[in-house]
């Protein structure tokens, strides 16, 4: 029992508990959501956010921050809605190039020792620029198979829940449980020690940025699958949502402390917070502020747990 209540355990449980509390409140406010159909509608837009949060989490894990993620996902969404639909081969190549560009960014940031915030902030304009070139006016259409996948109605469990679980578990095993993942996370905790042990920090950073790019691509594709079309600004909100989701899910800005399961939960929590507030009939002008308050509440709880942990 006492093992269950260690600070690490509480840290892990907190995002899940926050989500459960929010979900309970939503079910109470709007019983209609407590159904297959309701959960589907409530959660389907959280899937691309969850993927974006996972992408941001990889960056957070190596003590960097990606301020271009929203713009990047908009770009991949535009590519998905145009090239991937019209000429799949070119589309796949373009998306692969996006991932490669992210890996190169990681290398640049590491080699020149540049602050990632500045580099990615600059890149966000580049991504948006390319997105406008790819898709000058809103439009395009989702490739059929993505649309089919995103609107899948499996028996019993709604698709968004299955997707969230699959995403969380895949990344959890890859990053948290595998031997290779340990090195990637260690690089966030103590890069010097990892380097001393003979690992290449360059490779670590490239890998992490490439993974972020890969999940960014997935996020863009999932988003187009839901909206059926794209525009160059479609996912700009995702930059901040992904950072907030990662932090809400138990991640920290420095020190390589991240949690994929937490990140997915955090993303869903943020998406649900929006629904919750609109079910409350809160004036939308206050909604962003209220989302911020929810974020602060959860973080304050985490701080409380941490300080209790250090006192113990």
């Amino acid at each position: 029992m006492s093992r269950l209540l260690t600070p690490a355990m509480m840290r892990t449980l907190l995002p899940g508990l926050s989500l459960a509390a929010l979900l309970a409140a939503i079910f109470y406010l709007q019983p209609r959501t407590m159904s297959y159909f309701g959960l589907n509608l409530l959660l389907n837009l959280a899937v691309p956010i969850a993927l974006a949060t996972i992408a941001q989490m990889f960056i957070l894990c190596v003590n960097d921050l990606d301020l271009s993620l929203g713009a990047f996902i908009s770009l991949t969404a535009c590519i998905t809605a145009t090239w991937l639909n019209d000429a799949p081969l070119i589309g796949i190549l373009a998306l692969a190039a996006c991932v490669a560009a992210y890996a190169a960014l990681g290398a640049l940031i590491h080699l020149r020792n540049l602050p990632s915030i500045v580099v990615t902030l600059g890149m966000s304009f580049v991504w948006t620029g390319i997105a406008v070139l790819v898709l000058p006016t809103p439009g395009g259409s989702a490739p059929g198979w993505i649309r089919t996948l995103m609107t899948l109605k499996p028996a019993l469990v709604p698709f968004p829940i299955i997707a969230a679980v699959v995403i969380a578990l895949t990344v959890h095993f890859g990053l948290m449980r595998s031997a290779a993942g340990v090195v990637l996370r260690g690089a966030g905790g103590n890069p010097k020690s990892v380097e001393r042990a003979g690992w290449s920090m360059l490779r670590v950073k490239c890998t992490m940025f490439a993974l972020a790019g890969f999940f960014g691509v997935l996020s863009g594709m999932a988003l187009v699958g839901l909206t059926t079309s794209a525009d160059a600004n479609i996912a700009l909100r995702y930059t901040l949502l992904s950072i907030a989701g990662g932090i809400l899910g138990g991640g920290e800005f420095v020190g390589g402390r991240v949690s994929p399961i937490g990140a997915v939960i955090g993303a869903i929590t943020l998406a649900l917070a929006g629904s919750f507030l609109s079910f409350l009939r809160l004036n939308p002008d206050f909604q962003i502020g209220a989302q911020g308050v929810i974020l602060i509440l959860v973080l304050a709880l985490r701080l409380l747990i941490n300080s209790r942990g250090t006192r113990a």
Binding site: G38, L41, L45, P138, M150, T227, S229, S278
Partner: protein, 339 residues
């Protein structure tokens, strides 16, 4: 068993016949309608929301519908509005009226709504999803009507100056296209020059002042709204005779027109879209819920002000605002079924 089924079938057929016959049959007093709006940051949108509130408030009080709430997203983002629409579905609204952030980005959410049996009506910022109703503004006609009016004023034709809107925007192309079509239909008119006024008085004034010295006598100025007052000032500054300038329903334009009318009997017309179109969308949604057969694509009539209605319109228009018109159920029916 067999009989009852048959009986039911008969009833259904009868109902269908009745609906198509009378146009309004079902009771909508228990129905809930929501407005999903992507942006509220300018005076036109504010007027639109005020109109919605006023007209739907009366409808709710009168028991026509149970509720009609307006929801505006905070960030004018597609993903945010899509989530909002899905939330509205979950909240059990029977119809959702949408002013969309993107013509296609919301299609996924709109499809979800249709699949859930929710009536979707889009206006102003319309959506392309086929299951939704669209109340589109016929900007093309808005351009054309100006030339038609001028043709009545100048049977012998004359030189025109065209003030366009913001370059590269769909609306600008549409209105201009309508004007040009009107001109080719009345070949006595000649467009002598064309400038971009960006729908703003100051920009228009500068642009017109810049092109005036190179122009012959101008009989009339065709505009897109928000630019008439600036054009008048430019003509005045250049010391030229004031041509017939088509106005765009803005308060300053109407005021100027009134002054001229009182001083020298100046005559023109004014045309633009009324923000009250949101109330039309509301009635369309109500009519659909009512069981009326409404065409999937409707066209919003634009709001014209003539010499006779000038005073009245000016009185009801707020300073800095736009002339507005709100639709009653009967007005809406006239739009829906009238043509």
């Amino acid at each position: 068993m067999k009989l009852t089924t048959l009986g039911k079938l008969c009833c259904t057929v009868a109902t269908v016949a009745l609906v198509t016959g009378s146009g309004a049959f079902a009771d909508t007093s228990g129905k809930k309608i929501a407005l999903s709006n992507n942006y509220a940051g300018n005076s036109w949108r504010q007027a639109m929301l005020t109109s919605w509130e006023k007209v739907t408030g009366e409808a709710v009080t009168a028991g026509v519908v149970a509720s009609a709430d307006a929801f505006t997203t905070a960030e004018n983002q597609v993903t945010e509005q899509a989530a909002q629409i899905q939330n509205l579905i979950l909240q059990g609204y029977d119809a959702i009226v949408i002013n969309a952030a993107s013509p296609e980005g919301l299609n996924g959410a709109v499809k979800e709504a249709c699949d859930a049996g929710v009536v979707v009506v889009s206006f102003d910022g319309i959506v392309t999803e086929p299951c939704a109703y669209r109340i589109a503004v016929d900007f093309h006609a808005m351009g054309k009507v100006q030339v038609e009016y001028l043709a009545g004023r100048f049977p012998d034709g004359g030189n025109l100056l065209e003030i366009r809107g913001l370059a590269g925007v769909f609306v600008d192309d549409e209105i201009s296209g309508g004007i040009h079509e009107g001109v080719s239909a009345n070949d006595k008119f000649n467009i002598q020059g064309s400038v971009h006024g960006d729908w703003a008085q100051d920009v228009s004034q500068k642009a017109v002042a810049g092109i005036l010295p190179s122009l012959p006598d101008i009989a009339a100025v065709v505009t897109q709204g928000g630019d008439g007052y600036g054009a008048a000032q430019a003509f005045k500054a250049a010391g030229r005779d004031t041509p017939i300038i088509v106005m765009g329903n803005r308060h300053d334009e109407l005021t100027w027109w009134k002054e001229q009318k009182d001083a020298n009997g100046y005559e023109t017309m004014s045309v633009s879209i009324a923000p009250g179109v949101s109330t039309l969308a509301f009635w369309v949604a109500q009519q659909v819920l009512d069981g009326a057969e409404v065409p999937q694509d409707l066209s919003v009539p634009f709001l014209s002000i003539t010499q006779d209605t000038l005073e009245e319109s000016l009185k009801t228009t707020q300073a800095g605002g736009v002339a507005n018109v709100e639709y009653s159920l009967d007005d809406s029916k006239a739009v829906i079924f009238g043509n």
